[in-house]
């Protein structure tokens, strides 16, 4: 250390907030987190939130019933705009899921302690987002009851899927992603399920948690293999999460449609996915820590770090937008150039400007420490980014399809009430599943919090 620097404990150096509030022991973290599930009475706020989201799920079931009765014609899609809301929402939801895997796998490999208290519900968020995402392409096929055609199975017709098609890659990428996310989440839950089994006060809870915990008893030999498996899963999930949005971007990039046919799509889609995912984690974390008094576990440090990840990925996304614009000019391709003009001046330009406002301009506030530690502002910002990322997918899908090569093939798109009902319904489904999750499963990993208690107490010694 050079002489000019202030001493390490000087008040001039801003101390990072801790990742765990002071004074916690193994017993206190166990009690605190398991009590949310086991002993805490159901609050009125929970019932209200559940009721609202459940109503939206009812709207979803109505929208789906009507869709299956009438066909996809009730949506706003047409020729040439065959993709519409279904694909916009699919890409949006699957992107949101990515932050959960990023937090649980990549930050685990990078040994980031601050991941510990947010990984569990972020993984749950991933699962629920993938579930919402899966609904859309399934229904968009028009005949969801025939969707097993996309899987390779020995049929009497001797038909096999076309493995050169990005849509089949999607089937494999998304179903693998869903499966691996579920495994990762469940493996992480096993020790906590054992804790709940041993602390449950009623017989039904003991039996249900007991069956799910599969007889886990914390044996050192078990932990030894468990840690290997968990590390390997993290190592596998890391390239997987990057591959999933890459494959989703291939749905676009392998087509020759202007605005889609670019090599920047895979990295820019992955960055956008992480961007919107962190926004969604913040959207969930801020009310969760407030409602259940988890400020000691999800501290300012977590919120600030997530805000910084949002800022960083937001800048990558901005870089992507800039290069889309630059390449369309630099390439001299008249169709690409025209598409860029359409983004700025076409019938959907207000979407494009709103996108720039939400995804590029507003997040610049996050450079300021004050903004990053202002919780209400951060919450609003997370919603703005979620909206912005939805607009991005709308701009990509709709503007390109309404203006492709020949004026005779140009068209317009507007969503119908059934599009909005389905979208709102999946948001309801997502929120409802989260409400159920926080009531029946520990929203924070108890075993990993104990590890954190052990590690932080060593730091103080």
């Amino acid at each position: 250390m050079s002489a000019g620097q202030p001493p390490i404990d000087s008040p001039q150096i801003r101390r990072l907030s801790p990742v765990l509030g002071p004074g916690h022991t193994f017993t206190s973290v166990t009690d605190k987190i398991s009590s949310i599930v086991l002993t805490r009475p159901t609050s009125l706020g929970w019932v209200a939130g559940f009721a609202v989201s459940f109503s939206l799920v009812m709207i979803l079931t109505i929208a789906l019933a009507w869709l299956i009765t009438k066909g996809v014609g009730i949506w706003g899609i047409n020729i040439p705009i065959g993709w519409g809301f279904a694909i916009v929402n699919f890409v949006w939801w699957i992107g949101i899921g990515h932050a959960g895997t990023l937090i649980s796998a990549i930050l685990f490999l990078l040994n980031q302690k601050w991941r510990t208290s947010i990984n569990r519900f972020a993984e749950a968020m991933t699962l629920f987002a993938v579930a919402c995402a899966g609904i859309f392409p399934l229904l968009h096929t028009g005949r969801p009851w025939m969707s097993y055609y996309m899987f390779p199975y020995p049929s009497t017709m001797g038909l096999w899927p076309q493995f050169r098609s990005p849509l089949i890659w999607d089937v494999f990428a998304v179903s693998t992603y869903g499966t691996v996310s579920l495994l990762f989440w469940f493996v992480g839950l096993i020790p906590d399920l054992a804790t709940l089994r041993d602390r449950a006060l009623t017989k039904p809870k003991q039996i249900i948690y007991g069956m799910l915990a599969m007889g886990w008893r914390g044996s050192a030999r078990h932990w030894h293999r468990y840690q290997s498996a968990y590390l390997l899963l993290a190592g596998l999930a890391t390239p997987l999460v990057l591959s999933v949005h890459t494959v989703v971007s291939f749905d676009f990039a392998t087509a020759i449609v202007p605005g889609w046919h670019t090599t920047i799509f895979p990295p820019y889609f992955v960055a956008g996915a992480i961007y919107s995912g962190f926004a969604m984690v913040l959207t969930i974390a801020i009310p969760l820590r407030k409602a259940y008094g988890l400020e000691d576990f999800i501290t300012m440090r977590h919120l600030e770090n997530m805000a910084m990840v949002m800022l960083a990925t937001g800048l990558i996304v901005a870089y992507g937008y800039f290069f889309e614009y630059f390449m369309s000019i630099y390439s001299g391709n008249k169709f690409d150039l025209y598409l860029t003009q359409m983004r700025f001046h076409g019938p959907y330009s207000h979407f494009y400007y709103a996108l720039i406002l939400c995804n590029i301009l507003t997040p610049q506030l996050l450079w300021s420490h004050k903004a990053r530690t202002n919780i209400p502002l951060l919450f609003v910002m997370s919603l703005v980014v979620n909206l912005g990322m939805w607009l991005e997918r709308f701009v990509i899908v709709v503007i390109s399809l309404t203006r492709d090569f020949m004026p005779s093939a140009w068209g317009r798109y507007s969503a119908t009430v059934w599009d909005y009902a389905t979208f709102a319904g999946t948001i309801g489904l997502f929120v409802m599943l989260l409400f159920l999750f926080v009531r029946v499963m520990p929203a924070i990993s108890i075993a990993e919090m104990r590890e954190l208690v052990a590690e932080t107490s060593e730091d103080h010694e």
Partner: protein
């Protein structure tokens, strides 16, 4: 040497993970081999203290991943070249770059499934009951806040009273006999 069939072993309870690791080292030094520690979270240094060998989960994962990847690739090859060849403008049937995304996904899927199920199988889970669950304090604390060390009755050096006395000498807060049923 006393060996009663209805005794699984004797279990000692410790307040901190450091006391446990220390106790495990001492117990192994005393010549006990059939011992197992139980902790509410993975404790660093415990595997070394117990002299656990490298486990087989990574090997199983590797085999699962290779099976998924090779199986996935050659399945696509078989479908696209042998079972259902489509001649599109004379392009090669074995268009292997287009098979890479699915091959990759199936590699990850095979590896992840074998990591999880391999870990569970090697751990002998699911196993709903275990003799240690007969010990009230174990059920109450082993998955929350205490650290346990069990000397099993099948250890040749095991002697109910002497082993319990030995564990008591290692600063254990509670000693319990574990009944086997």
């Amino acid at each position: 040497m006393e060996h009663r069939s209805h005794v699984y072993g004797v279990v000692a309870e410790f307040k901190t993970e450091h006391e446990l690791v220390h106790a495990v080292e001492k117990t192994r030094e005393a010549g006990y081999r059939r011992i197992e520690a139980y902790t509410p979270f993975p404790v660093e240094g415990l595997a070394e203290a117990l002299a656990l060998k490298r486990n087989n989960v990574p090997l199983i994962t590797l085999i699962g991943g290779l099976t998924g990847g090779l199986g996935g690739f050659f399945f696509q090859y078989w479908v696209s070249v042998i079972a259902y060849p489509l001649n599109i403008g004379g392009r090669p049937l074995n268009s292997w770059p287009a098979f890479i995304p699915v091959t990759f996904e199936l590699t990850v899927l095979g590896a992840a499934l074998s990591a999880v199920f391999g870990m569970l199988a090697l751990n002998g889970l699911p196993r709903p009951h275990h003799p240690l669950f007969n010990v009230h304090r174990f059920v109450k604390h082993a998955t929350s806040d205490r650290f346990f060390l069990c000397i099993e009755a099948r250890d040749p050096k095991f002697h109910l009273k002497e082993s319990a006395h030995f564990l008591k000498g290692l600063n254990a807060s509670h000693i319990n006999e574990v009944e086997d049923d």
